[in-house]
């Protein structure tokens, strides 16, 4: 029998606000333990929560980005359960009146090959709600340590419908969601820093069946590969259970990334009784049309819309747009540079190949240096969009050869100098002095009379050998157009 998996995801995203969800102490990753704390974060006697307006606005932005219905009024509830990473032993969350409902995420499945676009479809969302994050527990052999720095950070939970069917769709969903959220400036969505975390609800049923099978929740899917592997493992486990006729229990399981399997955490019978009730310490949020309109004006273009626009308006091939559009900063760079450049296609190629290569190299080097923990981005890199546009325009004008440009670019990247500066500095101004070129061309014809004869005899391609010789003699610094014209004149 053939089986079909049904998967829904709960994605937690940390909003990149300066201060926490319900108090004004700072947020951040990698700070000394327990230094991003105050009476509210630690849940001291008498501490009271006060909402962070920016976190609410960012949540509205996410809702608009994902096409959700934004609630006119949403409120705060307490989710009660005891856990050492949760200072108050209740989490302030949204139970029956979340900030956003519905919505969808556009996903793209892999194409036949990397140069071909795959199929697109929408994954339906159930809701998006805002809550506070918990602290971080580190387990040791005999005990555990708790750092509350993360506790109280604003956390958005994006819940999808059970609308995915295989690990590839899950991966595509997470990628698309992440690209959109990063582009909108909501979060860096760095899974390694816990800024994006994922739980999956998985069930399996015989293909063709319409009712859902027994649902199993998988926790701890905290890397992209973890999500893929964990979901894949759990589907296999459930299919095998069905084939063997063993019962699938409704339970929560934990993905174990080292051993690559899921293990039971708690069964339905042991499920928490969260005793949700409205938090009496907080007032509800009212969101009016004017506020929504204001936020809507700041929405960025969605990554897939941008990709379609690049393909249609600029005629860029899929292979290029797919590399560009996953990275909104690269797109921003590209758009700024291409507005100044004479060839969008050439610019796109340079951005996707040369700029990306140098950037990834620089960031790789950075991992070994202790000083900077901020990754270099396209817009913060030493080659400005203006500078790259200048380089491309020099090539287009025939004032610089592609080869020389390729040689100069890494140096521009490391030194921050412009192409014009480097050309001057190295004395690489193109040999366009007619007299000198004429001598070198004449020289080349003299040295290769065979090629000269063939060209004169009508074999057009023979001129290339002569051009090559001239370029070699000028170490690539001659303007190819000028060389071409001079050779033809001398051969005629």
């Amino acid at each position: 029998m053939e089986y079909e998996a049904v998967i829904g995801l709960e994605v937690h995203v940390q909003l990149n606000t300066r201060s926490k969800m319900f108090t004004r102490v700072g947020t951040g990753f990698g700070q000394p333990p327990n230094t991003l704390t105050d009476p509210v974060v630690l849940g001291l006697p008498g501490a009271l929560p006060v909402m962070n307006r920016d976190a609410i606005e960012k949540s509205i932005k996410v809702g608009l980005l994902l096409g959700c219905k934004i609630a006119e009024v949403c409120k705060w509830d307490r989710k009660n359960y005891f856990y050492p990473d949760m200072p108050k032993n209740y989490q302030i969350s949204q139970f029956d009146q979340p900030i956003c409902e519905g919505g969808e995420v556009e996903i793209e499945m892999p194409g036949e090959n990397p140069a071909k676009m795959g199929t697109h479809r929408m994954v339906e969302l159930t809701r998006v709600h805002l809550e506070e994050d918990v602290g971080k527990l580190t387990h040791y052999e005999h005990d555990s340590l708790v750092d509350y720095n993360r506790a109280g950070s604003p956390l958005l939970e994006i819940v999808s419908e059970p609308d995915m069917h295989n690990p590839e769709e899950v991966f595509a969903y997470l990628t698309s969601l992440r690209n959109s959220l990063v582009a909108a400036g909501i979060s860096a969505c760095d899974m390694e820093k816990g800024q994006l975390r994922c739980d999956a609800n998985i069930s399996v049923r015989p293909k063709g069946e319409t009712t859902l099978g027994t649902k199993v929740e998988i926790k701890n899917l905290n890397t992209i590969s973890g999500v893929r592997n964990g979901v894949e493992y759990e589907i296999r486990r459930q299919v095998r259970a069905m084939e063997e006729g063993t019962e699938i229990i409704q339970e929560t399981r934990r993905w174990n990334p080292e051993q690559k399997y899921t293990t039971p955490m708690r069964t339905k019978e042991m499920a928490h009784d969260y005793r949700y009730f409205p938090d009496p310490d907080l007032m509800p949020v009212k969101i009016d049309e004017a506020w929504i309109d204001r936020v809507a004006k700041e929405l960025p273009e969605k990554p897939f819309d941008k990709q379609r626009r690049y393909q249609e308006e600029m005629n860029l091939p899929y292979s290029i747009t797919s590399s560009l559009c996953g990275d909104h900063l690269l797109c921003a760079y590209f758009e700024e540079a291409t507005a100044l450049a004479k060839s969008p296609t050439k610019m796109a190629n340079w951005v996707v190949n040369d700029l990306l290569r140098e950037l990834s190299q620089a960031n790789k080097m950075d991992e070994f240096s202790e000083e900077s923990n901020e990754a270099m981005t396209p817009l913060s890199c030493p080659v400005s969009p203006q500078s790259l546009a200048e380089l491309i325009n020099l090539i287009e004008d025939g004032k610089l050869t592609n080869n020389v440009a390729k040689e100069l670019f890494p140096e521009m990247f490391t030194s921050g100098k412009t192409v014009v500066d480097l050309i001057k500095e190295k004395g690489l101004d193109q040999k366009s002095d007619d007299g000198e070129i004429q001598v070198i061309c004449a020289d080349a014809i003299a040295n290769d009379s065979d090629a000269a004869e063939k060209f004169r005899g009508g074999k057009e391609g023979a001129i290339n050998a002569l051009k090559g010789a001239v370029m070699k003699a000028t170490r690539g610094q001659a303007n190819p157009k000028v060389v071409d014209e001079t050779l033809r004149r001398l051969l005629s």
């Binding site: 327990n34 991003l36 920016d54 609410i56 005891f82 708790v146």
Partner: protein
């Protein structure tokens, strides 16, 4: 309500995470049973169409701007902790429930 569904004292004590002696369980079972019985007049009340009161004087959008202020140092944060190590709170091994 208390008669057809007596309070499951073990379940509730576990929810509230309070260890009770057998004697306490018996006492609380009886006392809380009485209290719930006393609360029965609430069950008889007609409340259809009545809006619940969560706040005596409800308002909306009581918030702060997103500005971060200096918080505790690790030693201030841990001053009252029963046990700490490496600037973190020590808890006995966490066993999943």
């Amino acid at each position: 309500m208390s008669e057809d569904a007596p309070m499951d004292i073990d379940y509730v004590a576990n929810l509230a995470r309070i260890e009770l002696s057998d004697e306490e369980k018996t006492t609380y079972q009886r006392q809380l049973g009485d209290v719930l019985k006393y609360f029965e007049k609430l069950q008889e009340l007609e409340v259809d169409g009545v809006e619940p009161t969560a706040h005596a004087f409800p308002r909306h959008n009581v918030w702060d701007q997103d500005e971060s202020k200096q918080g505790f140092s690790a030693s201030e944060a841990l001053k009252n902790a029963p046990q700490s190590r490496q600037d973190q709170v020590v808890v006995p091994k966490v066993i999943e429930e």
